[in-house]
């Protein structure tokens, strides 16, 4: 187990360094931020001074090394636009993104698993077919368009929900959150539903497929033959066995929800990291783009690592298979 964890940890660190390099090299190919930051009427001397102040006149290799050194100390440069440390900007906005992603995941799980279970138990009934048709629709709906339709219906037509912003926030353990006030919940509702639609469809399909498969297994037939009530067979024998892959997927999808929040945040002007990324790309604010990508990639690598280790704890075949492949 320890060997597996260490090997997996080394792999994660390697991926992180590779991604840091790609992101840095890549982002430094984007336009010239001086064009944007310096007054167009500025003379050459002033431009040179601004370039030197931002460290943009140094050779590329030197810039990368000082970037790596800084990254290790948690310093990813200062935002060209806001003139504050980029990493601080990201961490200021991160709670909003995490709250949105968490809310979306909760909606997807509490609706997706029961619906998938129903569709799996009664695949040929009207309700089973309706749930599956709904999940195909959910897969096909463009996230950003659903957001627009939500605004169109609930903000413009009925005027029930606010179309943008985060609303009133309260501090929970020193972190501002929206979900504890009525106003905050009103602001959170549409973005969270918007972000949840795709994951909800995914969970419905996954639960349905798992249920259908496990219903054919001998242990379920045996449990039924023993005369156990249907509630117990489904609640214990079926659900317990399909939960392992579902929990894994939920873990992995949490990262993807954070990435997709870019779209939802842009539509609902939710003040999270995703909106910050799009704004920064448009303003050529390199340090913020780099900091965002590195933070998100790190979150991803950590999630993948934790899920892999948990999975190998739950299912010994995973780590044994890997060890066998390594020999």
């Amino acid at each position: 187990m320890l060997a597996f964890t260490i090997r997996r940890l080394g792999q994660s660190a390697f991926v992180l360094v590779v991604m840091a390099f790609i992101v840095f090299v890549g982002v430094y190919a984007i336009g010239d931020p001086i064009e944007l930051l310096v007054n167009p009427q500025a003379d050459t001397a002033e431009r040179i001074r601004a370039t030197a102040a931002l460290g943009l006149d140094k050779p590329f290799a030197e810039q990368f090394i000082s970037f790596l050194g800084g990254a290790v100390r948690g310093d990813l440069g200062r935002s060209f636009v806001f003139n504050v440390p980029a990493i601080q900007l990201i961490f200021d906005r991160l709670p909003a993104t995490l709250e949105l992603a968490g809310a979306a995941m909760v909606i997807a799980v509490i609706l997706g698993i029961p619906l998938g279970l129903i569709a799996g138990l009664k695949p040929d009934s009207f309700i089973g077919r309706a749930i599956m048709a709904g999940s195909i629709l959910g897969f096909s709906l463009p996230t950003f368009w659903v957001g627009l339709v939500l605004i169109m219906v609930f903000s413009v037509h009925f005027g029930w929900l606010p179309p943008n912003g985060r609303g009133e926030t309260t501090l929970l353990f020193g972190v501002p959150v929206s979900f504890l006030t009525i106003d905050g919940l009103k602001h959170l509702a549409m973005p969270a539903v918007n972000l949840a639609v795709f994951k909800l469809s995914l969970l419905v399909r996954l639960t349905r497929a798992g249920t259908r498969e496990s219903l054919l297994q001998d242990y379920v037939k045996f449990a039924r033959a023993k005369g156990l009530p249907a509630r117990r067979v489904i609640g214990v024998h079926v659900l317990k066995n399909i939960l392992i892959p579902i929990v894994t997927v939920i873990g992995l999808e949490l990262g993807s929800v954070i990435a997709f929040a870019v779209v939802t945040e842009s539509i609902f002007a939710w003040p999270g990291t995703g909106k910050l990324l799009i704004d920064s790309i448009n303003q050529l604010d390199r340090p913020v783009v780099v900091a965002y990508l590195l933070v998100i990639v790190t979150i991803f690598i950590v999630i993948n690592f934790v899920v892999d280790v948990l999975y190998s704890l739950l299912d010994p075949r995973v780590r044994l298979g890997q060890a066998a492949a390594a020999h």
Partner: protein
């Protein structure tokens, strides 16, 4: 010898699918004693596909959409890119309104520049579908080559290719695409490059796993016995039999590619504004949404939804029909 080889190659395009189906049917032959069925593989495939009405409806919708996209210049009431044809006085008219200057009716309304939305949607579909399909074809070719190479050479080639694919697939497509577009900038070639990068790994993985399974089968052994060249075995025997799962993945991926392109364009990172795809049309209408002018965003989104849904319905049924585990 060289002559026969040329002539068989000329028919190569028609052959692979036929061979797949004959392999499937060989597996499906009923036990001795029951009546042998004489049925062409294509007809059998069509019959199985047509069992689902939803899938047929999806296919019909898809055909209509593709025809509309191809015939856009003929069926559009207006050329949406020709500024001379646009009338600013007609801007932001609701659906069904008549033009102030001509007697034209704007069935789906107009946008902020007086562009007919129906024409804009036809042309937008054209770009969205073209970008989706071309990126899928390129990614398919790259993934196919990579997957076959991994399965065929094994060893470090396999390890290297599959490691890269694994690492890439552990990140969501949109994140990879965002990184790439932040790096590359805007443009149709750049968005295709991003979509190809995002997709190739799916194909490589699918091809590799089915190639590894197929390689063990007797017909490959028989081909080796016949003394056929390795290239011929890989390309003419192994490859065609790896196609069914690949077709399914490719169908799903076209829908993904179209969706991803429109999302990126909506965020302003995809295609340039000069030739708007559906995503850009929707983004353009977004700013007028809060003032109740819903049609500028709503109808292009509906066209996008219908296209993706049609493709997904077809893909779902293809998966059921081509999946040997579910064959009836």
């Amino acid at each position: 010898m060289s002559f026969t080889r040329c002539s068989t190659r000329a028919f190569a395009s028609a052959r692979p699918l036929r061979r797949i189906d004959s392999v499937r049917i060989a597996a499906d032959i009923p036990p001795a004693g029951s009546e042998p069925r004489v049925e062409s593989p294509w007809r059998r495939f069509a019959a199985e596909f047509a069992e689902s009405r939803m899938a047929l409806a999806g296919l019909a919708t898809l055909v209509v959409i593709v025809i509309a996209a191809i015939a856009a210049p003929i069926i559009s009431p207006q050329n949406p890119y020709d500024l001379a044809q646009l009338d600013v006085l007609d801007s932001k008219l609701p659906p069904g309104e008549r033009s102030s200057a001509t007697d034209r009716t704007y069935w789906l309304g107009t946008d902020d520049q007086g562009r007919d939305m129906l024409s804009g949607i036809f042309y937008g579909l054209r770009i969205s579908l073209a970008v989706g399909a071309s990126s899928t074809v390129i990614a398919l070719a790259i993934g196919l080559a990579m997957g076959l190479a991994a399965a065929y050479f094994g060893g470090w080639v396999d390890a290297l290719i599959m490691r890269i694919a694994d690492i890439q697939l552990s990140f969501p497509a949109i994140l990879i695409a965002l990184i790439l577009l932040a790096v590359l900038g805007q443009g149709i070639d750049k968005i295709i490059a991003a979509l190809v990068t995002v997709q190739w790994a799916y194909y490589a993985r699918t091809v590799r796993s089915s190639a590894l399974v197929e390689r063990q089968k007797e017909y490959i052994e028989a081909a080796h016995m016949l003394g056929l060249s390795r290239a011929r075995i890989v390309l003419r025997h192994l490859l065609p039999n790896c196609m069914p799962p690949l077709i399914v993945v490719a169908t799903v991926q076209v829908a993904h590619a179209i969706l991803l392109e429109s999302t990126l364009s909506f965020l302003g990172l995809g295609l340039p504004i000069t030739e708007p795809s559906l995503g850009l049309l929707i983004a353009n209408g977004f700013q007028y949404l809060l003032s109740g002018k819903y049609w500028i965003s709503f109808y292009p989104g509906l066209a996008l939804l219908l296209s993706i849904m049609a493709i997904n319905l077809v893909a779902d049924q293809l998966r059921d029909v081509l999946n040997p585990r579910l064959s009836r």
